[in-house]
């Protein structure tokens, strides 16, 4: 492989062009934290549709549902933390228009791991004694050993593509992911046929710039198919240590689900015609990097 082939740099539009209608798309992060929102906005600017979205959901899920891009959501929650119920997801659910697979948070990551390991399922106790199995069509298996325990067979959550926002990357896809919690981004990357990362900072060769951060290489570059530099690319979600979430923006977004309640009327405000325009509309990079880190 030549160095040229290892150059995985793409534009956000080129990344979205790799995706197609009907795909199963994993989105990293957790609720209003570490979401690849710039890539989500790029999808919202595209014609992409009929997606199955697999996410620990926040405004990523809400916006894609609001815009009618989603056929099915695989989720354990959809929430903006301080605004517990994601209003646009809620609206889509209550309209009856969405297919769903609702999972426990732990089962969800177990399904990603099954996909990462190429297994059809992984066994778990989680789900027994609840309505999840019946509603989600989950089957049971019996342990072949003496205990003969009955377990839920959590099916692999195979992703056609995953979108992940990271702190740093080089053009070969050597990423560095740091901050208090990387959630399950590693497993989204490994469960996907192709993963695309946006990053706060793109460097030339990681070893020349941040060799001391090598332990933050959460997943190896063989799991990365495309890289784009998108500073502030998680806004309005948080991206520690660079910036916190923008609760004012989330509140405006949440309020708009009631008034006017029509995504077409507000999409411009929350998506913009380009990422540069969006960033400009929220006060630029200075405004985003000035957002305090959230406390819990």
């Amino acid at each position: 492989m030549t160095a040229r082939m290892l150059d995985k740099r793409m534009s956000a539009a080129q990344i979205v062009a790799q995706l197609s209608d009907g795909m199963t798309l994993g989105i990293g992060g957790w609720g209003p934290r570490r979401k690849p929102m710039a890539l989500v906005r790029e999808i919202l600017r595209s014609d992409l549709k009929d997606l199955t979205v697999v996410a620990y959901g926040g405004a990523d899920v809400g916006m894609l549902c609001a815009a009618g891009k989603v056929r099915k959501v695989v989720f354990a929650f959809v929430s903006l933390d301080a605004i517990p119920l994601e209003p646009w997801f809620r609206k889509a659910r209550e309209s009856g228009a969405l297919e769903v697979l609702e999972l426990d948070e732990g089962m969800f990551q177990w399904g990603l791991k099954a996909a990462a390991f190429g297994l059809p399922f992984l066994p778990t106790r989680v789900g027994l004694g609840t309505d999840l199995a019946e509603l989600g069509g989950l089957k049971t298996v019996q342990s072949p050993y003496d205990d003969a325990e009955t377990l839920i067979a959590m099916p692999a959550l195979k992703l056609d593509a995953a979108l992940i926002h990271v702190n740093r990357s080089d053009w070969r896809g050597n990423v560095q992911v740091f901050g208090p919690d990387a959630y399950y981004d590693e497993w989204f990357a490994k469960a996907a046929a192709k993963s695309y990362v946006s990053c706060e900072e793109l460097v030339d060769r990681m070893e020349d710039h941040y060799p001391e951060g090598a332990q933050d290489n959460l997943f190896e570059r063989c799991f990365v198919s495309g890289v784009v530099e998108m500073p502030c690319g998680a806004h309005p979600s948080s991206m520690p240590p660079h910036y916190g979430w923008d609760m004012t923006a989330f509140k405006a977004y949440a309020d708009s689900a009631k008034d006017p309640g029509d995504w077409a009327e507000v999409a411009d405000r929350f998506v913009g015609s380009s990422e540069a325009e969006y960033l400009e509309s929220i006060g630029g990079k200075e405004a985003v990097t000035g957002l305090p880190l959230p406390i819990f």
Binding site: G96, G106, Q142, I295
Partner: protein
């Protein structure tokens, strides 16, 4: 006693749920359960582990409300990315949470209410980690407004494992299902009735069994001797105040009433 608030009495009662739990992660979701876990750790059960609510293990519980981001002293790391391996699926945790509904079997709901699953009348959070929490580790509950829409005969969507024999898939391992305590603005209950039926253990000052039964959508069992819920000690009140410098707990219960209910 007149100046002790009901919310402080609830926090004190909730903290008892964590007494002697050992070296496990005590998770309190919401102001009252979180203050209760902190109170337990700073008084009777110092061996408890807890996080700052984000990703770090702390030996000094983090106060509620606005503070500086670095006003926490991490002693360890327990991010969500390790949470199931380390705390939930190992059984080394006791969570106190507030679901939207809880039924006579101790089954809880956080998913949706009314309508159908395909078209819910009210979509809520989603089951979150409840299915795993309830099959793997102890759980307790706090409800700020005890009422028949919270305590229902049967929940709309079973998001957490209870003691309903009809929902037990044969051959499954339910040995870790362990529902402990329910604290509300009226009383303390447990699951000590016949077949784990919900049982009244103590009444908050001025509350009667009839008050509680009228606010509950199923028949309650009474403990042999129902006591009056203990008032928090002076030491406990001091600790609670130190963990809630902005008095966020004052907004948890409607009108922030005193511990003793007016006759």
């Amino acid at each position: 006693m007149s100046d002790i608030s009901l919310v402080d009495l609830c926090i004190f009662a909730c903290s008892e749920a964590f007494r002697g739990n050992g070296e496990i992660v005590a998770t309190g979701v919401g102001p009252v359960p979180r203050l209760a876990a902190g109170l337990a750790k700073l008084t009777h059960t110092p061996e408890l582990m807890m996080t700052d609510g984000e990703a770090y293990l702390v030996e000094q519980p983090v106060p509620l409300g606005p503070r500086k981001y670095d006003d926490r002293k991490p002693a360890g790391h327990l991010p969500f990315s390790r949470f199931f391996d380390s705390a939930v699926w190992s059984g080394r945790r006791h969570a106190m949470v507030t679901p939207t509904q809880l039924d006579r079997f101790g089954q809880i709901n956080l998913s949706y209410m009314g309508g159908t699953y395909q078209k819910p009348k009210t979509q809520m959070l989603g089951v979150r980690g409840f299915p795993g929490n309830t099959i793997y580790h102890p759980n307790s509950f706090f409800f700020p407004a005890h009422g028949p829409r919270v305590f229902v005969p049967e929940v709309d969507m079973i998001s957490g494992v209870g003691y309903n024999p009809a929902k037990r898939v044969p051959g499954g391992n339910y040995t870790a299902v362990d529902l402990r305590v329910i604290v509300t603005n009226l009383c303390v209950m447990d699951f000590g009735g016949p077949d784990h039926a919900i049982r009244l253990v103590s009444l908050h000052p001025g509350v009667t069994f009839e008050d509680v039964q009228a606010a509950t959508g199923f028949e309650l069992v009474c403990a042999e001797s129902v006591t009056e819920t203990a008032l928090p000690t002076a030491e406990a009140l001091e600790v609670i105040a130190s963990l809630d410098p902005h008095n966020i707990r004052a907004s948890v219960l409607k009108d922030n009433p005193p511990a003793k209910r007016a006759a």
